[in-house]
């Protein structure tokens, strides 16, 4: 019956006249743009230029919304065989509607003081929206013109052949990326003043630099569009031995780069990488085992991170009146073991729960752990709200690992270890049992899988990785406070594995770089990080449930055209079965 409803909707959608459809889409895009303005993103990013004096990040964000609206309008109204011009007209119309909504905001906002309620509805915002023009009429005209043109361009993007479109997107992608990460890239370029001068001003790219940054990737991608397939097939035609050699060489280069990273980039990028590795990759890989492999949605994952951190702190800090004081390496096994123990212990009550219940109960566990750590009841043992200081730092071969550059290697080693464990587990018997459990618990049980031990193994392994992360976290900061162990860490980890692709190990790294690394580099963004996570989680589930770097067999499933296989493969929690695709 679900398909019946879906079909009804499809019929209804087809019957809407295209003009109305375009206006509707334009208005939804307008609401999105309005929201982006009113929550303060535009204000926050209005000072950061991507291209100096030409394009601010705020304008880029709004422009992207309009472009997407135009693209969607073209995609939804255009039918095969129609002239391209109709799609372009509808795209421009939809774009214009976004402009109309924003113009309405400016007009209303200038007449009535909205600031009492909406803190970001400031004159500064209206100034940005009207391109800082003296006369509001001229500014609004420019706004409408700009949105109309951008909507048109969005539609044009839809009309373009695939190769062209990919090339254009590549060009813009590189341009925006390099423009946004100015601080970081300048840090690296510091030795080469000439290159730096050529590309950057004090705030944003130079115009020539921006042009070059667009055209070069554009041409490269365009060229790759023509020769890419041939290169790929040539590589595939190589004898297996040399192909293996090639892939080893690539891996070797990657490892070499990772090993030399702190040398090349210095302190700040290493610190960013440390956070990516610790809060992103370690936590993500651990949660990936529980959620991605075994399909158990655990929202209290931060609890084990906290347990690892507190174990490390209690065992090593002389501040608490705990009889034993250890070093980092003596305490580390205890931190991991206690996390595993707690992971299994808290796993027992939820053995029989599934899905939603599991999520909420685990969330409750996470909160209980945090509240206990905060409470006066545990103050003598855990330090209460002030937390614990004087935690031992990690040391290696006589050096204390306190600088980001040295800690980097500890984290790199931990990530490598958890990566290795994850991979081996995935391909092992227990890994297959987890996947079976994920697809269908009842069938898995009928096939002779012991649900109790399999689930507990998943909770335990996940907790071990979180415990390791927590222990390193404590040693890295040399102090811990219960406030840092709130739900957001769990949600971070969850968002990472969803963005990267559930059950995909490289996906975790991609997700961590995107969700931890980028906000670290864009400080203004930090405040809106969770807002964007929320949108990303919804949008990913609706449009790309397999993630940015899907697990291999899932990717194969999604692009497999044999009908018989798809039917049987898309059961259980496999996101491929989500109807957002259709």
């Amino acid at each position: 019956m679900a398909t019946g409803i879906a079909m009804n909707q499809r019929w209804a959608r087809r019957e809407t006249p295209p003009t109305r459809r375009a206006i509707q889409l334009g208005l939804s895009g307008g609401v999105m743009a309005l929201l982006v303005c009113l929550i303060g993103l535009v204000n926050a990013f209005s000072k950061r230029f991507i291209i100096n004096d030409v394009l601010t990040t705020a304008q880029a964000i709004l422009a992207i919304i309009v472009l997407i609206t135009g693209y969607m309008a073209a995609a939804r109204t255009w039918k095969r065989g129609q002239p391209a011009a109709t799609a372009i007209v509808y795209g421009a119309l939809a774009g214009l509607m976004v402009g109309v909504v924003l113009a309405a905001l400016v007009l209303i906002g200038s007449a009535v003081n909205l600031r009492e309620v909406l803190v970001n509805a400031t004159p500064a915002l209206y100034g940005i929206l009207t391109f800082e023009q003296e006369s509001q009429g001229v500014g609004l005209g420019m706004l409408l013109l700009a949105t109309g043109v951008l909507g048109l361009l969005g539609a044009l993007l839809f009309i373009l052949p695939d190769r062209m479109r990919n090339a254009v997107l590549m060009g813009f992608g590189v341009l925006i990326f390099v423009g946004l990460l100015q601080d970081l890239i300048e840090l690296v370029l510091n030795r080469n003043r000439g290159v730096q001068r050529f590309f950057y001003t004090s705030n944003g790219l130079t115009v020539t630099g921006a042009l070059l940054l667009f055209i070069l990737p554009f041409l490269l991608r365009l060229g790759w569009g023509y020769v890419g397939d041939r290169v790929r097939s040539n590589v595939e035609a190589l004898p297996p031995a040399s192909r293996r050699g090639l892939s080893w060489a690539m891996t070797g280069l990657g490892i070499l780069f990772l090993l030399l990273f702190p040398r090349i980039f210095g302190s700040f990028p290493s610190e960013v990488m440390n956070n990516v590795a610790l809060l992103g990759v370690l936590m993500g890989l651990g949660l990936n085992i529980v959620v991605g492999f075994a399909g158990l949605l655990d929202l209290g994952y931060v609890g084990f991170f906290a347990i690892g951190a507190y174990t490390m702190a209690v065992l090593t800090s002389p501040q608490l009146n705990f009889p034993i004081d250890m070093g980092f390496w003596q305490a580390l096994p205890f931190a991991i073991l206690i996390s595993i123990f707690c992971g299994m212990l808290l796993g027992i009550p939820v053995l029989k729960m599934r899905g939603d219940y599991l999520a909420i109960v685990t969330l409750g566990f996470g909160e209980i752990i945090r509240l206990l750590a905060l409470s006066d009841l545990m103050r003598p043992r855990l330090g209460g709200a002030q937390g614990v200081t004087q935690v031992a730092t990690a040391n290696f071969a006589g050096t204390e690992l306190t600088t980001p550059q040295t800690l980097y290697y500890l984290l790199l080693a931990s990530v490598a270890l958890t990566w290795f464990i994850s991979r081996r587990l995935r391909d092992s018997r227990i890994g297959r049992a987890w996947m079976a459990l994920r697809e269908d618990e009842d069938v898995a049980e009928a096939m002779g899988i012991n649900l109790v031990s399999t689930k507990l193994m998943a909770f335990g392994t996940g907790a071990a990785m979180a415990g390791l992360g927590g222990a390193i976290f404590a040693a890295k900061l040399q102090s811990i406070a219960p406030q840092s162990f709130d739900l957001l860490i769990s949600i971070n980890a969850l968002a990472i594995i969803i963005i990267g692709g559930l059950a995909s190990i490289p996906g975790v790294v991609v997700g961590a770089l995107l969700l931890i690394g980028v906000p670290e580099l864009l400080r203004e963004f930090n405040e809106y990080r969770l807002w964007v996570y929320g949108i990303m989680m919804v949008v990913m589930m609706l449009f790309r449930p397999e993630g940015f770097w899907p697990e291999e067999h899932r990717r194969r499933e999604l692009h497999d055209t044999e009908p018989g296989i798809e039917d049987s493969a898309t059961v259980g929690m496999d996101p491929a079965a989500a109807p957002g695709q259709s």
């Binding site: 019956m1 409803i5 929201l35 929550i39 303060g40 993103l41 009492e116 309620v117 909406l118 803190v119 949605l297 929202l299 027992i348 009550p349 053995l351 029989k352 729960m353 599934r354 899905g355 939603d356 219940y357 599991l358 999520a359 909420i360 109960v361 969330l363 409750g364 566990f365 909160e367 209980i368 509240l371 206990l372 905060l374 409470s375 006066d376 009841l377 103050r379 109790v452 739900l487 949600i491 969850l494 809106y528 969770l530 807002w531 996570y533 929320g534 949108i535 990303m536 989680m537 919804v538 589930m541 609706l542 449930p545 929690m573 496999d574 996101p575 079965a577 989500a578 109807p579 957002g580």
Partner: protein, 367 residues
């Protein structure tokens, strides 16, 4: 809803006799743990009562405060239960729906108070505020259904759950971005200060308003679901979507109405929350949301009277808990552990009676 629960009778197990044989070690572990917790509660209560730190009047105050905050939980819990009854999914973002209503209406309440309107027209302004808040929450709930849940109907369970978590964060930080991150205080309403006396028992006037409004709303909802045609459609869809569709019920419309009603109740709860606790900020949806979920589970999820009962029960338990059994156990500043009580209760209910107080549906089967 509750009639739906009668559909699947519990299998009458002949094995009920030899429960000991069927129990696995995990069951034993859980029973031991549960028994231990119950023992703690009993010992703590006895010791608190023996110590006599609180007078009878104080205990009554605790209970009444518990009922008042419990009725707020009940109203939110109804939203969980209604949606669960129909879609078998937990609307994780429901707490945020509640928050948006309460937070947005704060500005109206403040504006009205500045002009002295509230103090002069108390009943009218409370009704007005409730309507506005309910309307806003309703709008958000309906949009949520349309954008985040409807396209995913029939998708694997994990998918809409993740969307719901995402939507929940989106709403939280939207509210924060729109209205700022600071605390806002609802105005002090003069006519609602002080106590009303019913015989020897004095009750704070705000609490009277909260309890009375909640009772009216719940009675209205119950009549609506039981008597009206739409209510009948809702019950039919909850029972069997396909059969209801065949009988001419517009399933999509019914689901939207369900979300709308749930949202409206959450919005109304938001105003009552504002009256009672006064402080609102963008994060207030989270904890009441989880507690209302606990209440819904406690009463038997999918069951309307269950959600009401569960909310009251949880409210009273939470308000009595710290002084009654935590202080008796010698725990310092027991109030810090108030939320722990609610979470522990959720876990205990799911272990020992996943069907809840009134529910018959097996949580583990459906969840």
């Amino acid at each position: 809803m509750q009639t739906a629960t009668a559909r699947r009778p519990e299998p009458t197990t002949p094995a009920a006799r030899n429960w000991l044989q069927r129990a696995s070690w995990t069951d034993l572990f859980m029973w031991t743990l549960g028994g231990f917790l119950i023992l703690l509660i009993v010992v703590g209560s006895i010791r608190s009562l023996m110590a006599g730190r609180y007078s009878a009047a104080q205990w009554i105050d605790f209970v009444i405060f518990g009922i008042a905050q419990g009725s707020v939980y009940s109203l939110i819990a109804l939203g969980y239960t209604l949606v669960y009854g129909i879609l078998r999914m937990i609307n994780f973002a429901h707490g945020e729906v509640f928050m948006i209503g309460a937070f947005t209406t704060f500005f109206l309440a403040n504006a009205l108070d500045d002009r002295g309107f509230i103090n002069n027209n108390l009943v009218l302004s409370i009704i007005l505020l409730t309507l506005v808040s309910a309307g806003i929450s309703m709008l958000v709930a309906v949009l949520l259904e349309r954008i985040a849940y409807r396209p995913l109907r029939g998708a694997p369970r994990l998918v809409p759950l993740i969307t719901a978590i995402g939507a929940s964060f989106f709403l939280q930080y939207t509210a924060r971005g729109l209205y700022g991150s600071g605390n806002k205080s609802y105005p002090v309403i003069e006519p609602l200060q002080g106590k009303l006396f019913f015989g020897p028992i004095g009750i704070l006037r705000t609490q009277v308003v909260v309890i009375v409004s909640a009772v009216i709303l719940m009675a209205a909802l119950y009549t609506f679901v039981q008597r009206s045609k739409t209510g009948k459609a809702m019950r039919a869809v909850a029972e069997d979507k396909e059969a209801a569709a065949l009988m001419g019920v517009d399933v999509d419309r019914t689901i939207v109405i369900t979300f709308a009603i749930g949202g409206a109740l959450a919005g109304a709860a938001g105003i009552l929350y504002g009256l009672m606790f006064r402080q609102v900020h963008f994060f207030i949806g989270f904890v009441p949301g989880i507690k209302a979920f606990t209440a819904a589970v406690l009463g038997g999820i999918g069951n309307i009277p269950g959600a009401m009962l569960g909310g009251l029960f949880l409210g009273v338990f939470e308000s009595l808990g710290p002084s009654l059994f935590l202080e008796g156990l010698g725990i310092p500043s027991a109030n810090q552990l108030k939320d722990v009580i609610a979470f522990t209760m959720l876990v205990l209910v799911l272990i020992f009676r996943p069907t809840g107080i009134l529910g018959e549906r097996l949580a583990e089967k459906k969840a």
